[in-house]
C-alpha cells in the first residue's frame, strides 16, 4: 500500500476520496462499460436470476399455476425420491446422454480426420455433413421417424439386407432410446466442423518431426493429434452433456401425447418436467424437477471440467 502510493502518486487523490481507488478516467470507463453491457445485465437479472430464484421458491409449494402457491416445505423433493417415473426419467436421460455424446464425439472425430486429408472435394463433404445440424430438428424428426419405420422406411431394408431383424425402433421399448441416439448423430456434423478447424490448427512441423523419427500414422494420431485435440473435445463433452440432458423436441414429436412412450422408454427428464408442469398441473413439483436439472447440469459440467486436469493437454509454452 505504502509502496504503491510512492510509486504512483497520481492515484493518491482518488484513493483519498475512497472511491475504490479509481481514477476519473477509470470511473468514466466503468460507467460507460456498464451502460454498454446493460442489455445483457438486465436480461441476466430478469430472465435468468429471477426465474432461478422463483423456481426455488415455487419448488417448496403445491402450485397448479392458478391461485396461491401453498407452502409444503421439502415435500416435492421427498416425493421425488419415491417417484418411480422420476427415476425412470433420470435413467432414460442418463442412458441417452451417456451413449449419444461419446458416440457423437467419435463420429465427429472420424469425420474431421477424414476431411482433414487433402481431397479437393472436402467442401462438398463438409456442406453435406453440416446441413443436418442447421435444419429444424422437427423436420428432421418427421422424416427420421418414417426412415426407421419397420414397413414404411428404408433404414430397416439395410438391416434386413445385412441379415438383421426388422426392428420396430420407436414401437419397441428396448430400441426406442437407441433410435434417439442414432438420430442424435445427425448433429455430429457441427462438432465435426469444429474438430476440423482444430485439426487445421495443429502445426505441421510436429507431424514432420514425428515422421522423421519414424512414428507411424497410428502413433502420430495418439501421440500428437489426440492430445492437442483434448481442449476442443472437453468443450464438446461439456456442451454435449448439457444439451443431451435437455432432449425434448424429438421425443415430443415421436412419442405422442402425453410424450414418453412406448412404456415410458423415452420418458426423458425434460419431457417428464413438461408433463408435470403443463399436463398434470403440478407446477410446484415441476419446479423442484427443474431445480434438480439445473444443479445436476452444473455439477456434471464441473465434474467433467475438473476431470480435465487428468486428460486434457494444455500447451505449456
Amino acid at each position: 500500500m505504502v509502496a504503491e502510493t510512492i510509486v504512483a502518486p497520481s492515484r493518491a487523490p482518488a484513493k483519498r476520496r475512497g472511491h475504490l481507488r479509481l481514477s476519473r478516467r477509470e470511473r468514466r470507463n466503468l460507467a460507460v462499460g456498464l451502460l454498454f453491457i446493460s442489455p445483457w445485465l438486465i436480461g441476466f437479472l430478469v430472465f435468468l436470476v429471477y426465474p432461478i430464484v422463483y423456481t426455488i421458491r415455487i419448488s417448496f409449494t403445491r402450485y397448479t399455476g392458478f391461485g396461491e402457491p401453498e407452502w409444503i416445505g421439502l415435500d416435492n423433493y421427498r416425493n421425488m425420491l419415491h417417484d418411480d417415473l422420476f427415476w425412470t426419467a433420470v435413467y432414460n436421460t442418463l442412458y441417452y446422454t451417456a451413449l449419444a455424446v461419446p458416440i457423437g464425439a467419435v463420429v465427429a472425430m472420424i469425420l474431421a480426420l477424414a476431411m482433414n486429408q487433402p481431397l479437393p472435394e472436402v467442401p462438398i463433404y463438409r456442406a453435406i455433413i453440416y446441413i443436418p445440424s442447421v435444419i429444424p430438428l422437427f423436420t428432421l424428426t418427421f422424416v427420421y421417424q418414417n426412415l426407421v419405420h419397420p414397413t414404411q422406411g428404408v433404414f430397416n431394408r439395410f438391416l434386413i439386407w445385412l441379415g438383421l431383424p426388422n426392428i420396430n425402433w420407436f414401437g419397441d421399448p428396448r430400441y426406442a432410446k437407441l433410435a434417439l441416439v442414432l438420430l442424435a448423430q445427425y448433429g455430429a456434423g457441427q462438432v465435426a466442423v469444429i474438430f476440423l478447424a482444430a485439426l487445421k490448427g495443429i502445426p505441421a512441423s510436429l507431424y514432420e518431426a514425428a515422421s522423421l523419427d519414424g512414428a507411424s500414422a497410428w502413433r502420430r494420431f495418439w501421440g500428437i493429434t489426440l492430445p492437442l485435440m483434448t481442449p476442443v473435445i472437453l468443450y464438446d463433452l461439456i456442451l454435449g452433456v448439457s444439451l443431451g440432458l435437455q432432449i425434448f423436441t424429438q421425443v415430443y414429436i415421436i412419442s405422442g401425447d402425453p410424450p414418453g412412450g412406448p412404456a415410458n422408454s423415452t420418458l426423458m427428464y425434460v419431457v417428464y418436467l413438461y408433463n408435470n408442469a403443463f399436463r398434470f398441473g403440478a407446477m410446484g413439483y415441476a419446479a423442484a424437477l427443474a431445480w434438480v436439472l439445473f444443479v445436476v447440469t452444473l455439477v456434471l459440467a464441473l465434474l467433467i471440467f475438473r476431470s480435465s486436469r487428468w486428460w486434457v493437454h494444455y500447451e505449456t509454452t
Binding site: I42, P136, L137, V143
Partner: protein
C-alpha cells in the same frame, strides 16, 4: 548411381519399399478418407432424399411395401395441397415475424454488449465476461416453469412477446454470439478508434462508424444464427402459443400431423417440411463461409 554394384543390388528392394510406402500414404490420404466419407455422406443426405421422394409420391404409392426408392408417378400437386391442408401461410407468417424481430433484437443489442466487453477497459470486465460465458450452461428447460408463470402474470402468454422480448436482452444462446462478436472486435486495431476518441467521438459512434463496418463477417454469422434459432425453435412456441392461429411452423406442423382428425398424409407432411427447410438450405449454401467460421470461432476458445 556411380558406385554401381551395391546400389544395383539394393534398388529393387528399395524401390519396392518406396512403392509400398507411397501406396500406404496414397491409401491413407485418398482412399480411406473417401471410403469413410462417401457412405457417411449417404447417411447425412438420406433424410433429404427421403423427404423429397416422399413429398412427391402419390397416396397409393405411400402404402407400398417394401417402400419404393423413387416415385413412379411424380405428384407435384402435393406441394400445393400441403399449403392448403395446413394453415401453412399463416404459420409461415407467424414464424417469419418472430424470426425478424429476434434478429432485430440480437443485431441491436449483441454488438453493443460485445463492444462493452472488448473495446472499453473497465475494472471487472473480464470477470463479468466469464459470468456471461458460464450462463450458456444454464439449461433452458430448467427455467420454463418460472418463465411461463412470469409471462402468464404479465399477460404475455399466447402472444409473440415471450419469444421476442428476451432476445432484446441477450437471452441464451446470445452469450455464444456475444463471444463471437467480442473475439472479432478484439482483433480490430486500436489506432483509428483511439484517434476518433481523441477527436471527441462517443463510444457508440465508434461502434457504429468504425467497428461495425469492419465486422460484417461476424455480424452476418450472428444474424444467421439468431434467425435459425428463431426459425427452428420448438419448446418456446410450444409453451407460449395456444391458439392454432398463433402457431409457428414447428408446432403447427407437429400439431396437425398428430391429430388424426386432420388425417395428414405423410407425403403432404414431407412436402410442407421441404418448404420449411428450403430457405434454410438456400441461406446455408449462400453463406456457408459465415456459418463455418462463426461456428468454429464460437466453438474454439
Amino acid at each position: 548411381m556411380a558406385n554401381a554394384v551395391p546400389v544395383e543390388r539394393a534398388q529393387p528392394a528399395v524401390r519396392a519399399s518406396a512403392r509400398r510406402q507411397w501406396l500406404a500414404k496414397y491409401a491413407r490420404r485418398e482412399i480411406v478418407p473417401r471410403l469413410l466419407l462417401i457412405p457417411l455422406c449417404g447417411f447425412y443426405l438420406l433424410p433429404f432424399y427421403w423427404m423429397l421422394v416422399n413429398a412427391l409420391k402419390t397416396n397409393e404409392e405411400l402404402s407400398i411395401y417394401p417402400p419404393s426408392w423413387f416415385p413412379d408417378e411424380i405428384a407435384w400437386s402435393n406441394f400445393s395441397r400441403a399449403v392448403e391442408v395446413f394453415p401453412f401461410w399463416r404459420f409461415l407468417g407467424n414464424t417469419s415475424l418472430i424470426t425478424v424481430f429476434t434478429v432485430i433484437g440480437v443485431a441491436l443489442t449483441n454488438p453493443i454488449v460485445a463492444y462493452g466487453f472488448s473495446r472499453i477497459e473497465w475494472p471487472g470486465r473480464d470477470t463479468i465476461f466469464y459470468l456471461v460465458l458460464a450462463t450458456v450452461f444454464i439449461p433452458y428447460p430448467a427455467l420454463i416453469v418460472a418463465l411461463f408463470d412470469i409471462f402468464a402474470q404479465l399477460g404475455w402468454v399466447n402472444t409473440f412477446k415471450p419469444l421476442i422480448v428476451p432476445f432484446f436482452f441477450c437471452f441464451i444462446p446470445s452469450p455464444f454470439w456475444i463471444f463471437l462478436l467480442r473475439q472479432f472486435f478484439l482483433r480490430i486495431p486500436h489506432e483509428i478508434s483511439d484517434a476518433a476518441r481523441l477527436d471527441g467521438a462517443s463510444e457508440l459512434r465508434i461502434l457504429y462508424q468504425i467497428i461495425m463496418p469492419q465486422s460484417w463477417p461476424a455480424l452476418s454469422a450472428v444474424s444467421l444464427f439468431a434467425a435459425l434459432h428463431a426459425w427452428n425453435d420448438f419448446l418456446g412456441p410450444l409453451l407460449y402459443l395456444q391458439d392454432t392461429s398463433k402457431y409457428t411452423l414447428s408446432i403447427g406442423l407437429t400439431f396437425f400431423q398428430s391429430q388424426s382428425r386432420y388425417d395428414i398424409q405423410f407425403n403432404l407432411l414431407m412436402a410442407a417440411s421441404a418448404l420449411v427447410i428450403l430457405p434454410v438450405v438456400l441461406i446455408f449454401l449462400s453463406f456457408q463461409r459465415a456459418f463455418v467460421e462463426g461456428v468454429t470461432v464460437s466453438g474454439i476458445k
